[in-house]
Amino acid sequence: MKKALITGITGQDGSYLAELLLEKGYEVHGIIRRASTFNTQRIEHLYQDPHERNISLHLHYGDLVDSSNLSRLIEKIEPNEIYNLAAQSHVGASFDMPEYTAETDAIGTLRLLDAIRETRIDTKIYQASTSELFGKIQEMPQKETTPFYPRSPYGVAKLYAYWITVNYREAYNLFACNGILFNHESPRRGKRFVTRKITVAAAKISAGLQYKLYLGNLNA
């Protein structure tokens, strides 16, 4: 049975990926951040009681800002595939928390890659890269070969993560891939992202439960 480790399993993409991998018969391990607020709503339907035998979903406390925790988890789990989806993923919030965003999104990716290198396990890694790398666009449409020009602390942090992933692939022969995903939305999108904020407002305003929706740049 193949084993996968997902950082960011509690998020939109992580929860869908966990579903897919469980369907394919993977043993799925997810890292969740300890928080006083409940943050596992998106994987509630997948949860399996660790007291049962032969469960295929395992959750571990961890964080991309904690190197020894990452090494320990990778060593213990020995995943065949790692999906790095954890991040401070809100572009707007990255202007308020630039250092934290860099710590998690940029250095966090390095920590994960280094944990693989240190523990020497044979694994593949997927890095969640983003269209925010293109920011001030240099070419229309954007392709894999289009030069990057990020326009937010989030984009800049993800730029580091992109290149360190490429570097570890080339330097240490690691099977590492960047998926440069453009906007991808769903009913599981966080409610503070503009698309979901709009769909929640449309539902509430039409039901008479909200009066107004405030937006930023309408032409974005």
Partner: protein
């Protein structure tokens, strides 16, 4: 993501629809699905979205959501993903907005609320 790790060689791929849409279009379509026609009036920070039927202003611009630096209109070409991992978008803009609005309407009618967010 899964498909990329099943390739014979590691590579970097762009995943996109090849389309581009603005926040304005998203809002228009979302309200339309919820049964509200939006008319825009004014410009810039004073631009407003008005419910055609009731005349109420239901969308306003709040500059606090503006970003110090904004990205341009992004539009990705997914042809390499098609070639390397045979990936193509299944759901595009119109259908996506519909799925999202209907899911929120459904959640609201079943639970009476969708959850609070203050920011």
């Amino acid at each position: 993501m899964y498909k990329m790790l099943q390739c014979s060689e590691p590579c970097d791929l762009l995943i996109a629809t090849g389309e581009t849409h603005t926040v304005r279009e998203f809002a228009e379509r979302a309200f339309e699905i919820a049964g509200i026609k939006l008319d825009w009036e004014g410009e810039g920070v004073t631009e407003k979205g008005i419910d055609r039927k009731t005349g109420n202003t239901i969308v306003e611009v709040d500059p606090r959501y503006f970003r110090p630096t904004e990205v341009d209109i992004l539009m990705g070409d997914p042809s390499k993903a098609k070639e390397k991992i045979n990936w193509e978008p299944k759901v595009k803009f119109e259908e996506l907005v519909e799925i999202m609005v209907k899911a929120d309407i459904d959640k609201l009618s079943k639970k009476g609320e969708i959850g609070l967010d203050y920011l």
